[in-house]
Subunit: 142 residues, 2 copies
DNA sequence: GCCATCTGGTTGCCTCATGCAACTATCTGG
DNA sequence: CCAGATAGTTGCATGAGGCAACCAGATGGC
């Protein structure tokens, strides 16, 4: 199918255009490593997370997640507490500074995305959103 | 705008769902480092490229590109030749093995993407493609 | 023609990202 | 109570990227 080929190239270009290359800078220009930004986003959304759940959300190996959390802690953005119900587990929670950092990131993201959306013709915006969601779901199931 | 927020999350999920995390494996399951796969794709499309053009296409710094090309050469997939019109430049070209490798990658990508597209409702496919293209163009201009 | 400047590449050095394997500590089921 | 599963940590390896310093060829002004 010709669509396949087009979709492949579309995705490849999308990835590069979005700037997912730089690991030490968010695609939205913030000087925060990408994986920390993802983690921050999940933690900001849920408040507290088991480290293993975080790993699952980010689709990372537990060791990578462990180091990631350590980095957040070194920045003063998160803290570990023992899980009350399971002596093996740890809970990860954002500190007030971490909450602020997450908010800053969200703002920068919002700015970048509004700029992008402004370049998308008015009538197409809803379509773009829906298409991206559909595509992500399709990938998830694959 | 509420759309912003949705788009942000949609993109974040898309990135993770697509598996762009693993640097030593393509999202399509091939045991080829991601950046080599991108380079291979561009070279397969154009035949010969100035190294500086390749850097531009991949949005990479010249040093990174230089190392990338060296890796391709070490795998026997590419070769450097001096640019005939400019004593500083080099041309990069795929070897026959490189062409084969690029074809294998394209095939794996096609397989992955057809599987994904199959999960996208028939009527939506064209929309998804268009949306992705529009979005990429919008990002490019930002 | 000659030098200042620009441009394409290479290499050294640093940081980030990630997985696997080995090991520890803690559950859980028989 | 012990075997096996599960949560985390740490050591080791690979890959990715940028910036700065450096080299060599190109170019423009004078």
């Amino acid at each position: 199918m010709a669509d396949d080929r087009e979709l492949q190239e579309a995705v490849a270009r999308f990835v590069r255009a979005f700037g997912l290359h730089q690991p030490d800078r968010t695609p939205c220009g913030q000087p925060v490593p990408v994986s920390e930004a993802h983690a921050l986003g999940e933690l900001a959304r849920d408040g507290v997370l088991r480290q293993s759940d975080l790993a699952h959300r980010l689709r990372l190996e537990k060791s990578t997640t462990s180091r990631l959390v350590t980095q957040l802690i070194n920045r003063g953005w998160a803290e570990r507490t023992p899980a009350p119900d399971d002596g093996r587990g740890v809970l990860v929670r954002l500190t007030p500074d971490g909450v602020k950092a997450a908010a800053r990131l969200a703002e920068a993201r919002a700015a970048r995305f509004s700029a992008v959306l402004e370049r998308v013709p008015e009538g197409e915006r809803a379509d773009v959103l829906r298409a991206l969601t559909i595509l992500t779901e399709a990938m998830d199931e694959t």
